[in-house]
C-alpha cells in the first residue's frame, strides 16, 4: 500500500514535468497566436486588445499556473481556430479512439497468448515454423497498409463491411463495434506478432529452468507444469510489453482512423497541427500522457500481483 502511494506520487510528479515541458515548448515557439487569430487585417489596437484578452501579456509562470489550474478543473482551453472550448471538441471523439484501442488490445491478447503458448509447446513443429516466418512478415507490414489491404479484400471484394460507413455509438452500439472490428484487426496484427514472439521465447526460457524439472519429477503432467508453473513466470516480461503495446495502440488507432474514415481524435489532432491550433494539440498530448503514465502504474500493480518476489523485495 505504501508502495502504491509512492508510485502514485511519482506519477503525479511526472505528469507535472510533462505539463511543464509541453507548456514551455508551445509557448516559446515563434509566432503570435493573437496575430494568427486576428489575421492580417486587424489594427494594432485590436491586436493589443486580443493579446490582453487571451492573457498573452502575463509573464510565463502566471500563464502556466492558469493553464494548469484550468486542466485540473477540466477546462482544456479554447481553440484558436474554432473559438470553442477544446473539451467540447474532444468529448465526442475520445470514446471512439479509446474503444478502437481497447478492441485492438483484446484482439492482440486473444491472438497472441494461445499462439505463443502453442508454438512454445510445439517448438520446431510445422506450425511453429510457419508462425515464425509469418510473424516476421507481419511485423514488416505498416498497420495502415494492412488496413488498406483489409479494406480492399474484406470491404470491397467480400463485402463483409462497408468501407467509410462508420456508425456512431450513439446510433447503434453493436453497429459501432462491428465497424471497428476490421480497423482493430489492422492495429492489433503487428503487435500480436511481436507478442507471440516474446511469449514463445519466454515460455521456452522458463521451461529450461531447474524448477520446471523439479515440477516434472514430482509427477506433474506436461500441461500441469506449463499452466501452473511455467506460464506464471513466463508472463512477467510479456506484461510490460502488453502495457507498452496498449499505449502504442492509442497512437496506432490515430493512424488507422484515417484509413477507415473513423471520426476519432485523429482528424482533430492532424488539422490542429496543420493549423497550429496549439490549445487543442496541448490538450490531446496531456490526455495521452496521462493515459500512458496511468498504464505504467497499472503495469506496476499487476506486476506485484503476478510476481510476489517484487513485493517482498522492497518492503
Amino acid at each position: 500500500m505504501r508502495y502504491l502511494i509512492k508510485k502514485a506520487c511519482m506519477m503525479l510528479f511526472t505528469l507535472l514535468v510533462v505539463s511543464l515541458c509541453v507548456f514551455l515548448a508551445f509557448s516559446l515557439i515563434p509566432g503570435d497566436p493573437a496575430l494568427r487569430q486576428l489575421g492580417t487585417n486587424g489594427t494594432p489596437e485590436q491586436l493589443e486588445a486580443l493579446r490582453q484578452q487571451m492573457g498573452l501579456k502575463d509573464p510565463l509562470p502566471v500563464r502556466y499556473g492558469r493553464w494548469l489550474l484550468g486542466l485540473l478543473r477540466g477546462d482544456l482551453g479554447t481553440s484558436y481556430v474554432y473559438k470553442i472550448p477544446v473539451g467540447s471538441m474532444l468529448a465526442e471523439k475520445i470514446p471512439i479512439t479509446l474503444s478502437l484501442a481497447l478492441i485492438s488490445f483484446v484482439f492482440m491478447v486473444l491472438i497472441s497468448v494461445p499462439l505463443g503458448i502453442y508454438t512454445a509447446k510445439h517448438k520446431d513443429g510445422v506450425l511453429d515454423h510457419i508462425v515464425m516466418v509469418l510473424n516476421q512478415v507481419i511485423m514488416a507490414v505498416p498497420p495502415f497498409f494492412a488496413g488498406i489491404l483489409i479494406t480492399l479484400v474484406f470491404g470491397m471484394i467480400l463485402h463483409l463491411f462497408t468501407p467509410g460507413g462508420f456508425i456512431s455509438y450513439k446510433k447503434s452500439v453493436p453497429g459501432f463495434i462491428g465497424y471497428l472490428i476490421a480497423p482493430a484487426f489492422a492495429v492489433a496484427l503487428p503487435k500480436a506478432a511481436m507478442a507471440v514472439k516474446l511469449l514463445r521465447g519466454s515460455v521456452i526460457d522458463e521451461a529450461a529452468k531447474d524448477y520446471t524439472r523439479t515440477a516434472y519429477s514430482r509427477g506433474n503432467t506436461t500441461n500441469g507444469v506449463l499452466y501452473r508453473h511455467v506460464l506464471q513466470n513466463a508472463l512477467i516480461p510479456v506484461i510490460t510489453f502488453l502495457g507498452m503495446a496498449l499505449a502504442d495502440m492509442v497512437a496506432g488507432s490515430i493512424v488507422i482512423e484515417q484509413v477507415f474514415g473513423i471520426p476519432g481524435i485523429s482528424r482533430i489532432l492532424l488539422t490542429s497541427i496543420n493549423n497550429r491550433d496549439y490549445p487543442v494539440v496541448e490538450a490531446i498530448i496531456m490526455g495521452i500522457a496521462f493515459l500512458v503514465i496511468f498504464i505504467n502504474l497499472l503495469v506496476d500493480v499487476i506486476y506485484r500481483i503476478v510476481d510476489p518476489r517484487i513485493a517482498s523485495g522492497d518492503e
Binding site: A25, A140, F145, L149, T151, A251, V255, Q258, Y278, V281
Partner: protein, 274 residues
C-alpha cells in the same frame, strides 16, 4: 593476429545465418533500387500524362500509373530515396545523441543521471509516432523537420540501451586498469568502453532502421513530410486508397516497397542478434 581471425570467423558465421543472408539480399535490392533512382528512372516522377491515368501493370509502366498519369515505379524509386534518407537521418540523430546521453549518464551517474533518465523514461513510454507528431507541430512539416522530429523521438531508446551497457561496464577490470594508468574519463568512455558496446548498438541501429521506416511511412501517410508534387511512399498510399476500386494495383507498388525495406532491416537485425 588472433583477433582478426575471430573477427573473420564471426563474419563467416553471420553469412551462414539464414536471417542475415536474406536481410542482406533484400536490403541490397532496396539500396540498388534507390541508387538506380538517383541516376535513372523510366519516367520523370512528376511528369503527368492525361492519356494514361490509372493504367494497370504493363510493359510501359511496370507498376502502373497513378490518378494523374504519373509512372508509379518512378515515383516509388523517388519516394523510397526520401524514406531511406529520413530513416538514415533519424537513426544518425537518435543514435548519436542517445549514445552521448547514455554514455555520460551511465558512466558518471549522479543527479544529472537521475533527472535525464526520468525524462527519457517519460519520453520512452510515449509512442514514437505521437512524439514525432508533437515535434512536427513545433517545427512545421517538411523533409528536414520530419527527420529531426523522428530523430528526437528515437533518442530515448538508444540512451537507455547505451546507459545500461555503460552501467554494466564501468566497474569492470579493464576500465579500472585503464583508470589506474591515468586515462581520462572521456578517453575511457569513448576509446575503452564504447568499442565494447558496439555490437549491442549495431543490433539496436538495425532494428531502429525498420522502426524509422515504419514511422516515416506512417507520418507521410498522414500528409506530414515531403509535400506534393514530390513523391513519398506514405502519401502515394493515401492517394492510391481513393482509387482502390478502379485501380487496385496502385496500392501494391508503394506498399510492397515499404514492406521490403522493413523486412530487409528486420532480418539483418535478427541475424546480427543471433
Amino acid at each position: 593476429m588472433k583477433k582478426s581471425k575471430t573477427l573473420r570467423l564471426n563474419f563467416i558465421k553471420k553469412h551462414r545465418n539464414a536471417f542475415f543472408r536474406t536481410g542482406l539480399i533484400i536490403t541490397g535490392l532496396v539500396v540498388f533500387l534507390v541508387l538506380l533512382g538517383l541516376v535513372w528512372s523510366p519516367y520523370d516522377p512528376t511528369a503527368m500524362n492525361g492519356e494514361e491515368k490509372l493504367s494497370g501493370i504493363s510493359l510501359r509502366h511496370i507498376m502502373g500509373t497513378d490518378n494523374m498519369g504519373r509512372d508509379v515505379f518512378s515515383r516509388v524509386l523517388y519516394g523510397s530515396r526520401v524514406t531511406l534518407l529520413i530513416a538514415t537521418g533519424t537513426i544518425l540523430i537518435g543514435s548519436f545523441v542517445g549514445t552521448l546521453i547514455g554514455a555520460l549518464t551511465g558512466y558518471f551517474g549522479g543527479l544529472a543521471d537521475d533527472i535525464l533518465m526520468r525524462i527519457m523514461d517519460a519520453l520512452f513510454a510515449f509512442p514514437s509516432i505521437l512524439l514525432a507528431l508533437v515535434f512536427v507541430s513545433l517545427f512545421g512539416t517538411g523533409t528536414w523537420q520530419v527527420m529531426v522530429s523522428l530523430g528526437i523521438a528515437f533518442v530515448p531508446s538508444y540512451s537507455r540501451i547505451v546507459r545500461g551497457e555503460f552501467l554494466r561496464c564501468r566497474d569492470m577490470d579493464y576500465v579500472r586498469s585503464a583508470r589506474l594508468q591515468g586515462a581520462s574519463d572521456l578517453r575511457i568512455i569513448f576509446l575503452h568502453i564504447l568499442p565494447n558496446v558496439k555490437n549491442v548498438l549495431i543490433s539496436a541501429i538495425l532494428i531502429g532502421f525498420n522502426n524509422a521506416v515504419l514511422a516515416e511511412a506512417g507520418l507521410s501517410y498522414l500528409g506530414i513530410g515531403s509535400q506534393p508534387p514530390h513523391a513519398s511512399l506514405g502519401k502515394m498510399l493515401s492517394d492510391a486508397q481513393q482509387y482502390m476500386l478502379s485501380s487496385p494495383v496502385y496500392v501494391l507498388g508503394p506498399g510492397l516497397m515499404i514492406i521490403l525495406m522493413v523486412l530487409g532491416f528486420s532480418f539483418l537485425g535478427e541475424g546480427v542478434r543471433e
